[in-house]
Every structure is written in structure tokens, then in C-alpha cells.
């Protein structure tokens, strides 16, 4: 028994020993194994660089691989590993492909520094160019062309010339890419390369076409004569290219179409133009956002207005592709929506602000919402946006004010809802929000959108009353907003009530003058001056009697106010006081009586501009000040400034280009140059004539060609009017500032005597768009107003001192707008020069009235 036990013991001990040894061995193995994991190369590469030289010199591929990994890890971490260049170059001909790849990566990194040594490797590349494996050939060419050493460029050109005719499309693709690199390295090679590219253009494999196009664009992007023969073939091939090739080809064909086809103005479209659009449309179903974007861009710039709506759905889909691409897509949508807002109205909900949206997305979404409002969606939108006004995110609430303003302006039915929401917003504790709401309220009051409502719920003066009472509220502290209220009071003081309000506001404002902000102070000064003017000029008007009553008090307040302002801390306020005082002298001042009428007129204008400048100052964030129209889908559009390689699309040709032979469609006879045919007949005839075999019928499998029978339905453009829009739209794409600027029609009301109506011509002298419509004013004054619309933009920063006092004409009476005017906030882009010219004659014509 004991024997048995001891035996068992021994056995157990042996087992334990064995297991211990075994596990030790495992640990050893693991250690050894662990050392070889690439992670460790990366982590401690720089400490072991000393070993590299020896390892590279050894005969074992494994050692070399290890050494190369170490080197690359060191390079990746920012160490300068150029001292090993010579040792590395020796291995460029290594039999092990992985070693060789790594050597290439290293080589490309340091070839520019070590040009002489790099040349040593060229021989190996040249030998590889003849390798039987297509990947090796391609790789050798790729690396050789990437070495940025000008000396070898003739050799590379030779290699490219040879491999451009290679039987493998993969190699031909690499050769085409090499062309782009060569032209960047040495522009002197252009002629030689153009020749090579010309042979390449015959490329048939969809794999390589994309790169060939890229080479073409790099070498000779405007040689459209070389494109003619390939055009139809490429259109049909477009669907089969790899994704990045599609992007390149669409870009090229876009530029080609803009130069070779007539602008789509009438019912007819060039047959090839239609073919192009039809080939591009399926790309909108690509999974690659870049492809979708380029197709959208092509449609925006090439298609007639009637076909444009197809881009909306794919664009909305791209919104889900992630935060950053959502931003890029939104900037594009915004640009497109500005021209044709209607097509996005089914997708209004996609532009609702979600809690997870970053601020840049929120801003764009709100701007788009403001742009695409339509009568169908407005009720939904107003309900949603009314929720935003209480949003805890200040920028959302501020943006909501802009959307409400846009809603009220474009859809009459919604005015009441919007206006009520805006009035409620005034109570918001945040100064940004209340002042944004105030600006919107002011805009709605001034442009007359709200005036139609007064008979229903509240009159204009109820609203003014309400606003004035707000001034007493503790919450309503924002300077800009308060200034807006004073400005409004000033603008609506024509009637008796208005005048009383004005007097009261002036009295209170004077009392609290020192607590107000600079803008409010200036507005108060203007209000004071305005009242004074009314007092002095209205000898027999309905207000005269009333003014008589308050005359003395008004004089006192006026003097007091201007004395206060004279010693104000803010120099803008002092300046304004000085100027107004010169125009509207205090009792003690020297009066220029003979020039009084003219002075009065000028001062009225100043009042008007003073009002307009308000609201601008505290950042009109609800409208963007985008001025230039970049190509849809371009990077420049996304970042809103021209990038270095940005080339605007060419304009449509002025005259219809001659038709040329655009090659044959694959598998069909060539029918010659495309004539101009009815769009609908184009489609049908094309379907009959060219059974296009889309190579998507996978060659060698199904083996049968599929007729391209399912072309998208093109509706014939309805009328020429549609195309007029398109003209404007397309022209504006390349037109700088002028057209695309938010044009803000502002109303200038000019006082005129009926007898002098012949003089009214001058009101329409400078700009043809201004029309003197001679609306009857409902205001109490008997003058007849002729209303002219001018689209000037205010340049307004903080104070108006530097701006021309003639910058705009507006009467103090209730402004009369031509109906349907959709003015935005006056935007920032000043074009001051033209304003001066324009307004001057008005002055001369109108001043007589005051004499």
C-alpha cells in the first residue's frame, strides 16, 4: 500500500514538474511570439533602430521585414530615418514582395532628399516593368512615377508610353495616373504627355477609364476636340466605371456640355445633351456620396428646370451619411433651395432640428427651412418652429425668429401665427433671442406684411403700444431691441396716436437716457429730431394742432436731450447729436433758414436710414451673407471661399455650337452629329436606334446584351418661362456678387406733388427695375407717394457715421410697399456708390414740395 502511495507521489511530482516545464516553455514561446507582433514594432521602434542596419544586411527575408517595419514605425512616429536610405535601397530588388512594398513606401518618403541614391533603384523598376505579373508592373510604375526627382522624368515618360499599351487594364490605369504625377513634376512635358493621353482616350476597360479621364483633366482639360469622338461611348460606359472614375468623368462631361451644347432654353434638347443627362441620372442611386453629389451637381448645372426636382430625394438621403457630410450636403441644399425651393418642400421634416445636431448643422437647417417654406407646409412648419422659439439652445431660438419671418412673408395665411409667436418671443430672458424677435417684428411692421391684419385682432397702434410697454419691462434690456422699438415709434408717428406715442416715448427715453445703450440713445436723438421737424413743418396738417399743445415741452425735452448727448461717453452718440443738431437746430443755434427745406428733406432721409440700420448691428444671423455662387458639389461651396484649384464651370456658349461627330454608341451604327430634336422624341428614337448594351450585363455570364429600355421618363419642358428661370439660375452660377446676393428690395417712398409727376421719371432713372407705381398712400398726409423699389444693400456696422447720408430714401409716413414684396433683412453687402448716384436726382425732384 505504502509502495503504491510513494509511486503515486512520484508520479504526481513528475507530472507537476512536467507541467511546470511545459508552462515555462509556453511562457518562453509566448514571450518570443509576443516580440514579433507588429504592435511591439510600433511601440518601441526608435530604441531598436541601431539593429536595423545589421538586419537589412542579413540574408534572411524575415529579418529584413522586421527591420523595415521598425523603420516605418519610426518614420510614422516622426523620427528622421533618412540615414538608412542606402541600406534600404539595396533591398529594392528583394525577392520578398512584402519587403519590397515596405521598401517602396520608405523610398517614396525620402527619395527627394537623397536623389542620387534614389536613382540607383531606377534600374530595378525598369526591370520590373517587364515582369509577367500585372501587379508588379503596375507597382513599379506607380513607385517610379511617384519619385519626385526631375532627372528621371524622361525615363518615366518612356515607361508610361510603353505601359499605356499594356494588355492589363490595371497597368494601363497606373500609367494614366503616372501621367498626372509627371505633369505635376515637370510641366515642360505637357506636349509629349498630351500625345500619350490621346492614345489612352481610346481606353475600353471601365477599370482604367477613370484614371485616363483624370490624366486628361490634368494635362489638357480644355481639349474638347479630343472628347468629341468619345462622348457617346463614355456616356454609356458611365454606369460601369468604378466610383471614383464616375466622379471624374461626370466632372469632365459637365464642363464639356457647358461648352459644347446650347443652353437648354426651348423645348428641345440636343440629342447628346439628353443622352448625357439620362446616363448621369442613375448615378444618384450610387452608394458613394461623392458620386451622388457629382450627379446632383451635373443636373443642377446642365438640366432644364423641369428635370431638376430629381435631385432632391438623393440629397435628402445623403443627410444621413454622418455629421460632416451632412454639413456639406446642407450647404449644397441651401444653395439649390435658394433657386428652386419648391422641390424640397416634401422633405421639410428632414430639416427639423434634432437635439443631436451640432450647431453648424442647426444653423443651416434653419436657413433651409426659411428658404423652402411653402403654402402647403407652412402650418406644419410654423407649429414646429414655434417650439424652437422656446428652445434652450439660443442659436435655435434666434434662427427660429428668422424662419418665422420668412414664413410670414411668403405665406399670408401664416402671418398671424408667426407674428404672435414673435411677440411672445420678446419676453424671452435671453437678450439675443428677444432682439432677434424684435428685429423680425420690426421687419414685418415696416414692410407692411402685418398691416393687413390690423382690422382683425389688433391695430398697428395696439402693437406699437404693446412694444412701448415692453420697454418698461426688466427683461427687455437688449440695446438693439430697444432701439428697434424707438425706431418703430419714429417710423409710425404720422397719425395722431403715433405722434402721442412718440412724445411719450421721447419723454421717458430722455428720463432714462443715461441707462440706455448707444443704439437706443441714437434712436432717441433721431426721434427727438423727427418730432421737432414735424412740429416745425406741419403748419396746417392734422398734427399741427396737437403739436402746438406740446410745443413748449417738446422744445424743452429736445434741448435737454441734445445737451445730454453732447456730453455722452460714446463718441458715436456725440457725433450723431452733433449732426442732428446741425440739421435740426436748437433754439439758440444759428438757423440756416434759406436752406431749411432741403435740410429737412435730407434729415428725413437720415431718419429713414437710421431706422434701417437698426437690427443689422447685432448680427443679422438669420440670413447668410453668401455672395458668390460656386459650383454645386464643389469644396469651395462647402467652405464658402474659392479653393486654390477651383475652376468655375464655363458659361454656356453664346451661340449654339456647331454639331460635331460625337462618336458611335457601342454596338450601333453612328448616326452622325446630334441635331436638335424634341426631348420626348429624343428619348424614344434613342431607344429604338441604340439598343445600348450596358456592360452591367456582366460579360461572360449572362452573355446577352440588355437593351437600355428603361431610361428615365423625361417630361417635356413646359414653357419658355421655365427656361427663363433657368437662365437666371445658370447664369448666376458664375456671376459674381451682384445676382446671387440676397437682393433686398427696399422701398423708397418719395414725396411728390401730383403736378410734378413728369419729374417722377427720375425716380426710375438709374435702375430699370425701379418702377413708379404711384400707389395711393393711406396715410393722413395728402401727398401722393410714388413708390419706387430699389434693391440696395445696406452697409451698416454699429454706427452710420461713415455711410452716406443719402443712402436711402424713406419717408416717415407709413411705408407703402408694392404688394407681394418679399424683403429680407437688408443684407450687408454694400454697394454704396450706386446708391449715391441713384438717390441724388430724387432729392432735386422732391425738394420743391417743401418750399
Amino acid at each position: 500500500m505504502a509502495e503504491y502511495l510513494s509511486k503515486a507521489m512520484a508520479l504526481a511530482q513528475d507530472a507537476a514538474k512536467l507541467s511546470m516545464r511545459f508552462s515555462e516553455g509556453l511562457v518562453d514561446n509566448a514571450l518570443e511570439f509576443g516580440l514579433d507582433t507588429p504592435g511591439s514594432f510600433y511601440d518601441n521602434a526608435e530604441y531598436k533602430l541601431a539593429l536595423v542596419r545589421k538586419e537589412l544586411g542579413s540574408g534572411s527575408d524575415k529579418d529584413k521585414l522586421v527591420a523595415m517595419k521598425r523603420l516605418l514605425a519610426a518614420v510614422a512616429k516622426g523620427y528622421d530615418a533618412s540615414e538608412y536610405f542606402a541600406d534600404v535601397v539595396k533591398n529594392v530588388a528583394s525577392g520578398n514582395l512584402e519587403v519590397r512594398r515596405l521598401v517602396y513606401i520608405y523610398l517614396l518618403r525620402y527619395a527627394e532628399q537623397e536623389q542620387d541614391l534614389a536613382l540607383l533603384s531606377v534600374n530595378t523598376f525598369q526591370r520590373d516593368l517587364g515582369d509577367s505579373n500585372q501587379v508588379i508592373r503596375a507597382m513599379a510604375l506607380r513607385v517610379m512615377s511617384s519619385i519626385r526627382v526631375p532627372v528621371i522624368s524622361p525615363i518615366v515618360v518612356l515607361a508610361v508610353r510603353k505601359l499605356a499599351l499594356d494588355r492589363s487594364p490595371h497597368v494601363r490605369k497606373t500609367a494614366a495616373l503616372a501621367v498626372t504625377k509627371l505633369i505635376r513634376l515637370d510641366a515642360g512635358l505637357r506636349e509629349e504627355l498630351v500625345e500619350i493621353v490621346e492614345t489612352m482616350l481610346r481606353e475600353n476597360s471601365p477599370l482604367a477609364v477613370g484614371s485616363v479621364i483624370r490624366a486628361f483633366c490634368a494635362v489638357c482639360p480644355t481639349r474638347y476636340d479630343m472628347v468629341h469622338g468619345q462622348f457617346r461611348r463614355w456616356c454609356v460606359m458611365l454606369a460601369d466605371l468604378d466610383e471614383w472614375g464616375q466622379v471624374e468623368l461626370v466632372k469632365l462631361l459637365m464642363a464639356y456640355a457647358r461648352t459644347q451644347f446650347a443652353k437648354p432654353v426651348s423645348d428641345s434638347l440636343d440629342a447628346d445633351h439628353a443622352l448625357l443627362l439620362r446616363s448621369i441620372q442613375p448615378l444618384m442611386q450610387s452608394r458613394n456620396s461623392a458620386v451622388v453629389m457629382s450627379a446632383v451637381s451635373a443636373f443642377c448645372h446642365l438640366a432644364p428646370q423641369t428635370l431638376l426636382p430629381v435631385v432632391a430625394r438623393p440629397l435628402v438621403r445623403l443627410l444621413k451619411a454622418g455629421r460632416e457630410s451632412a454639413y456639406a450636403v446642407l450647404t449644397n441644399i441651401q444653395q439649390i433651395a435658394r433657386r428652386s425651393p419648391a422641390m424640397f418642400s416634401p422633405y421639410v421634416r428632414s430639416f427639423y432640428v434634432a437635439a443631436s445636431d451640432p450647431p453648424f448643422t442647426r444653423r443651416l437647417k434653419l436657413q433651409i427651412l426659411a428658404a423652402i417654406v411653402s403654402s402647403k407646409t407652412v402650418s406644419m412648419m410654423v407649429a414646429e418652429v414655434a417650439g424652437y422659439t422656446q428652445s434652450l439652445l439660443t442659436d435655435v431660438a434666434v434662427g427660429a425668429a428668422g424662419v418665422l419671418l420668412a414664413c410670414a412673408r411668403s405665406v399670408r395665411e401664416s402671418v398671424m401665427d408667426c407674428f404672435t409667436s414673435l411677440l411672445l418671443m420678446l419676453d424671452d430672458a435671453r437678450p439675443e433671442v428677444s432682439s432677434a424677435a424684435m428685429r423680425a417684428v420690426r421687419a414685418l411692421l415696416l414692410d407692411g406684411t402685418v398691416r393687413d391684419l390690423q382690422d382683425r385682432t389688433m391695430t398697428l397702434y395696439d402693437i406699437i403700444c404693446y412694444l412701448v410697454r415692453k420697454m418698461d419691462s426688466d427683461k427687455f434690456k437688449d440695446d438693439g431691441a430697444r432701439a428697434c422699438v424707438v425706431g418703430l415709434v419714429c417710423a409710425f408717428m404720422q397719425s395722431k396716436f403715433g405722434c402721442l406715442h412718440a412724445l411719450e416715448v421721447l419723454r421717458r427715453g430722455t428720463r432714462s437716457f443715461k441707462e440706455e445703450g448707444a443704439q437706443t440713445k441714437m434712436q432717441l436723438l433721431e426721434l427727438g429730431a423727427c418730432l421737432m421737424l414735424v412740429h416745425r413743418t406741419q403748419e396746417d396738417g392734422p398734427l399741427a394742432k396737437m403739436m402746438e399743445e406740446y410745443s413748449e415741452k417738446l422744445g424743452d425735452i429736445h434741448t435737454y436731450l441734445f445737451t445730454l448727448a453732447r456730453y455722452d461717453v460714446d463718441f458715436d452718440v456725440r457725433d450723431r447729436a452733433r449732426m442732428l443738431r446741425a440739421l435740426c437746430p436748437l433754439p439758440g443755434d444759428e438757423a440756416h433758414s434759406e436752406q431749411m427745406p432741403r435740410v429737412l428733406e435730407i434729415s428725413r432721409e437720415i431718419m429713414a436710414t437710421g431706422i434701417d440700420s437698426l437690427g443689422q448691428t447685432s448680427g443679422g444671423g438669420s440670413q447668410s451673407s453668401q455672395t458668390t455662387a460656386f459650383t454645386i458639389g464643389s469644396l469651395s461651396l462647402t467652405v464658402d471661399r474659392p479653393m486654390s484649384e477651383y475652376a468655375p464651370l464655363p458659361e454656356w456658349p453664346a451661340v449654339k455650337p456647331p454639331s460635331v461627330d460625337r462618336g458611335a454608341l457601342p454596338g450601333t451604327r453612328n448616326v452622325g452629329g446630334g441635331g436638335s430634336v424634341e426631348v420626348s422624341s429624343v428619348i424614344t428614337s434613342q431607344q429604338q436606334n441604340y439598343p445600348m448594351s450596358r456592360a452591367i450585363n456582366i460579360a461572360g455570364i449572362s452573355g446577352r446584351a440588355q437593351p437600355y429600355s428603361s431610361g428615365p421618363e423625361y417630361s417635356t419642358p413646359r414653357s419658355a418661362a421655365d427656361h427663363d428661370d433657368l437662365d437666371a439660375f445658370l447664369n448666376s452660377a458664375d456671376d459674381s456678387a451682384g445676382r446671387v446676393v440676397h437682393q433686398t428690395p427696399r422701398t423708397a417712398v418719395v414725396f411728390q406733388q401730383p403736378a410734378e409727376s413728369s419729374d417722377s421719371d427720375i425716380s426710375s432713372s438709374e435702375e430699370s427695375e425701379s418702377e413708379s407705381s404711384g400707389l395711393e398712400s393711406s396715410a393722413s398726409s395728402e401727398e401722393r407717394h410714388s413708390v419706387s423699389e430699389e434693391s440696395d444693400e445696406d452697409a451698416s456696422e454699429g454706427s452710420d457715421d461713415e455711410r452716406s447720408p443719402f443712402a436711402g430714401v424713406r419717408s416717415n409716413s407709413q411705408p407703402v410697399l408694392p404688394s407681394g414684396s418679399s424683403a429680407g433683412y437688408p443684407s450687408f453687402n454694400g454697394r454704396r456708390g450706386s446708391e449715391d448716384e441713384q438717390v441724388q436726382p430724387l432729392m432735386d425732384g422732391t425738394s420743391q414740395h417743401w418750399q
Binding site: 507588429p38 442611386q285 450610387s286 428632414s350 434652450l392
Partner: protein, 331 residues
Amino acid sequence: ENFTTVYQLLSEMVDSGSAVTTDTSVLRGLVPVPSLVDRVIENVSGIGIRSEKRPDVNTSSTPWRSQGIRHANNEFFVDIVERIDAIVGADGSVVSYDVSGDISCKSRLTGMPELLLVLNRAEAMDDVAFHPCVRANKWQAERVIGFVPPDGQFKLASFHVATDAAPRLLPLHLHATVSRQQDQSHIIEIAADAGQSGKRPVEKIQVRVPLPAQAYNIRVQCKAGTHTVSNVRSPQVEWSLKSLGPTERGARLTIQYLVRASSATAASAPQVLSPSPGSNQSALAAFVDFEVAGYSVSSIKVDSLKMLVESYKLFKGVRYVTKAGSFQLRF
């Protein structure tokens, strides 16, 4: 790890600053894929087997599928994953609602098969994006997805469902009440009830409530599931619920927290416009995540999957999942 492979991939994908190819099957041919098995064999035998395999590139007209693929078991799996993007108001009303989905496939098929996938409600998809292997004109004409599949996993199509006419089905009904007691104490109550989910339980429910940065003394109660309070940059409450059956009673979550008094001054500071929701006094919204297996909210189903060209037996599998995409509950 594998940084050299990444290097090699990048050098193939991008050439002098422009994208060349991003197709995975092409890249797989160009750059050997490292695998643990390879590495073990290398370490044991001392010789790399990778060096013997010559890279090659498929230049046929189907670059996504190379010739001569063989599998012992021929299988094809289709996953239809639908995501509901919705914004739900505090009262449970649906503010915006959007269903989109993906058809992902896993293919292990021999040779060069051509497949035809027929869906029952293809017309409900109003916007479809396809993998390049899909024949676009076949879809245009017959609303049938015909394709030669790449080998392995791939995303065949992604689609958007026309939801304007369809009823807005939510697998999970949510309500929230936010109240403010005394001065600085806030209470958020969230109720989750089972909705329309085809009689299947809603699983993996996660409700994430980011709280303002000034919140402290956070107390959370929930009747079901578990909750965690994290405080990395700003405090956040996460409530997770394994499953909620269609007949089960709804679950409730109550969060109570105080806001530091200093927040009032912070709010009036000029950086109120700063983007982070943390700069506000109260929480904005809850982000909800859930999953319903075996349920397709748009009721798009696979009608049939036919194989042309090749003639072997094929094992087919279809799975449906409905998930929450960007699903938010506004307060």
C-alpha cells in the same frame, strides 16, 4: 498593430492625392490580409507563406468578384435592417418620422452565380442606393434586384421607405414630463410603453439623458432595468432595459437633480451661444436606442431569392431587424 498593412492599403487606395480604388475585394487581391493563422504558421515554420502567394488583380468586368471561388457549403444570408429616425415630442406625439434600411448580405457561393432578389413591397422604397454589382436597369424595369454577389459580407442596397402615406409605427411609445420644483430642483420622468412591434419584444432598450453641466446631486429611480450615472464632461444618465414585451407594463424612469446656482450667471454670459448642450440649465432631449428582432417596420420582406447560371443547392437565410436610428425624445 498591422500598421504596415495599413500603409500598404493606403498606398494602393490613394495615388498622389486622389482616390483610386476603395473596393474591398480588389484591395484584398492587392494587399495580403494578415491573419493570426498565417502568423502562427510563420512563427512555427520560420517561413512566410505569404511571400509565395502572388498578388493579382481582377480585371474582369466584375471587379468585385474574382473567378474560381469555391466553398464547400453554399450559403447566402440576407439581413434587412431597418432604422427608425424619429423625433418624439414630450407628449408622445411624433414630430418627425423616417424609416430607412439596409439590405446586407453574406455570400459564400461557388463560382459565378447570378442572384435575383424579389421583395414583396419594392414599390414602398422611394429611394434606393445600390452596391455597384446590382443591375440598375433591371431594377428600373422590374423592381427586382439582380446581381452577381461579391464574396463575403457586403451591403447590397440601402433604401428609404416612403412614410408619408404609411402609418407611423413606433415599437416603443415614449413620454416625458419635465418639472421644476422649488427653484433649482428638476425632475424628469420618462415613460416607455410597448408599441407596435409585431408581437415581438423590444430589446436592448437604452435611454441616454444628458444633463446640464451644472447638475449635481443626481438621483435616479427606475422600476425596471438598470441605470448608470456617468460624469465625464457633463453628467449623463443611462437607463438600459433588456427587453420589453408587447404585453408587459411600461417602464418608468425618474431623474431628479439640482442645478448649481452659478448656472444663472453662466447662462447670461456671452458664451450662451456655445454649442454644448451643457451650457443650458435643463436637459434637452433623451436619445433612445432599441432593437426589435424579427420585425420589419415597413413590412418589406424578401419574397424569393433565385439563383441563375450556377446549379447547385443553396442555403438561404433571411433575417429582419428593426432598430432605432436617431431616435430622440424631446423634453
